[in-house]
Symmetry: C2
Subunit: 357 residues, 2 copies
């Protein structure tokens, strides 16, 4: 496969500080940018899209962060490879549709990815485990400045950065956090939380973005507003919202643990039992069960070292990744069987649950 070097690249170890925040899996900041002298990708013709691609590619390679990046045009990737990049949150479904000139540059450590000819000419993204928006924003801002040395971005004094979709106008910044909220789900509080978050101008989505259903109690929280607010303000607002959700999840966990710890232990232990024993398992069920093991780490029923492995399994259980593990798993049924066998094998080496009852 073209993307084998990317799959084999060592993944960055989780920052220990990130693990201190039980409800957060990863954070992402994204910027939308467009070239001054070209129509947005949807309106651009083939040759314009090619020129956009060439200009961006050159500018990206010129930055110190991306000198040694992975670079793929969608045209050169198979559907399976594109699926893998989606599952790793490195490209969007839209980019994967493979419009002419669609491409992605991914930094060696896979924390940066820059999509070319998606909805906008450029979508810059930084994604890291844990929750440190200020650090992410600083790194992405630097990348933006580096690119701006070579590219003239479309900018209006009145509106800020111009984007294909008006909801991204202004700073073009979108910050999102992948959160794991099992207690809020178990206690039936998610509806209330979603309502409160919306009122703060944020959106809640399932794991794979727009419209997808939440899986394994994993949600993506992101800002909605990009116009009229400076980047710093946006980052501050979403940070505040995330902290309040973390507190809410933590409180709910404490209440559940106080009321009836064995109800939580039951759910976690059954999840472990099913991961060890099933012969067929869908990716949705696998994610639900893995989510409960993540909760076990938070509750100290599994050692902290297990967290990274669980988060990896979240990704490896996705259909595209299963295909990289076994070429024969080329139908959903075969994948379910392979996934179950794979997980069973993984959990043989896993530490046992230890509840402090």
């Amino acid at each position: 496969m073209r993307i084998t070097p990317l799959l084999e690249a060592p993944s960055e170890p989780i920052d220990p500080a990130a693990a201190q925040m039980p409800a957060v899996i990863s954070s992402r900041v994204r910027l939308a940018r467009n070239l001054k002298d070209y129509p947005f990708p949807s309106w651009a013709n083939m040759s314009q899209r090619s020129e956009i691609l060439a200009t961006c590619h050159e500018a990206i390679l010129a930055t110190p962060q991306m000198k040694e990046c992975f670079f793929y045009t969608m045209a050169e990737l198979s559907e399976a490879e594109r699926q893998i990049l989606i599952e790793r949150h490195l490209i969007s479904k839209e980019l994967a549709e493979g419009q002419p000139g669609a491409a992605v540059a991914i930094s060696k450590d896979q924390s940066f990815s820059i999509m070319i000819n998606e909805e906008d000419h450029l979508r810059l993204q930084i994604l890291k485990p844990g929750f440190n928006f200020r650090k992410l924003w600083k790194a992405l801002n630097l990348m933006d400045s580096n690119l701006e040395q070579d590219i003239d971005f479309a900018f209006s004094e009145e509106l800020g950065y111009l984007t294909a979709c008006p909801t991204n106008l202004g700073t073009g910044i979108r910050a999102s956090v992948m959160m794991h909220l099992p207690a809020l789900v178990l206690a039936g509080h998610m509806e209330k939380v979603v309502k409160a978050i919306s009122q703060m101008g944020m959106a809640v989505r399932g794991l794979y973005g727009e419209g997808s259903e939440a899986t394994g109690s994993v949600f993506q929280i992101s800002n909605q507003q990009t116009l009229g607010l400076p980047e710093e303000e946006i980052i501050k607002n979403i940070t505040k919202a995330i902290h309040s959700i973390i507190a809410h999840e933590q409180n709910t966990r404490e209440v559940l643990m106080e009321k009836d710890p064995s109800a939580l232990y039951d759910k976690i232990s059954r999840a472990y039992g099913l991961l060890e024993s099933s012969f067929k398992i869908s990716s949705t069920e696998a994610m639900n069960l893995l989510g409960l093991l993540r909760l076990a780490v938070d509750l100290k029923a599994l050692p902290e070292e297990a967290r990274q492995r669980i988060d990896q399994l979240f990704i490896l259980c996705q259909p595209g990744h299963i295909l990289t593990l076994s070429e024969k798993a080329n139908t959903p049924e075969k994948r379910d069987t392979f996934r179950a066998a794979y997980l069973k094998e993984q959990f043989k080496k896993f530490p046992n649950l230890e509840f402090k009852i």
Copy 2:
């Protein structure tokens, strides 16, 4: 407890031949008899019911089969004890309601039970693991004859034995088989089977008789007709029906195994995983899961020796029996927690599943 000696009595080992019939758990034959000179229990007054009890008690103790039986009046048993006898299928819910004079005699090996002052003056029952109606009927018939030496039964030349409920008129015989039909349930064929059985003049019920929902794919099949047919004919008819259900279940298992054995293995293995890992488990869920392990024995994924233990656990997981294992399990929630811990302990010592894939 009054019934402790009964609970501690060794249970009869399963006849190896009985284990050859995968779909059958146990068979039961019952006769309804009434004393000639007394009204049926519902119409009898207190002193009549006492006289019925005394007469029957004496006659029962005079038979060689019941010389050393367990004998309990409902009045002397606690609700918990009565519940245990129901769970062991030794008394009916009606008898347990404890009308004056209601009592039961149970043979040492617990295969015979004789209820006094239930719907009829006497309900004679024989219940054994496996499926051998002819043998059961012979043994029960002998008991009936032995009792008839001391008791004048109500009998009409035209109608046969008289019973409180006209559906039992004639021979008063009811034969039933407890069947385990997981394949028919999995394949969604039970509705069809129930219809076919009804047309053969048989009834299908869940595990605990009349109106109860089937649990763990366990069903009770019994004859409906008692009037106008000699006992031998009734036994022959139900035997034929049971053989046809066994064949149907066997065929369906073969089809399921041929089509996709891992679908069956998945269900069985998950059941084992949940029995090993849960922290709370209801009796209904426990029976469902144990039913799947019974199927594992049939498919040779568990050794034949496991069958008897599984069948015992079926009984031991019932609420009344859980209470005998732990006095503290005095609410449904506490029982669910105790049941899970008990099963987890049991399955530590259990052989592992071995599928021949």
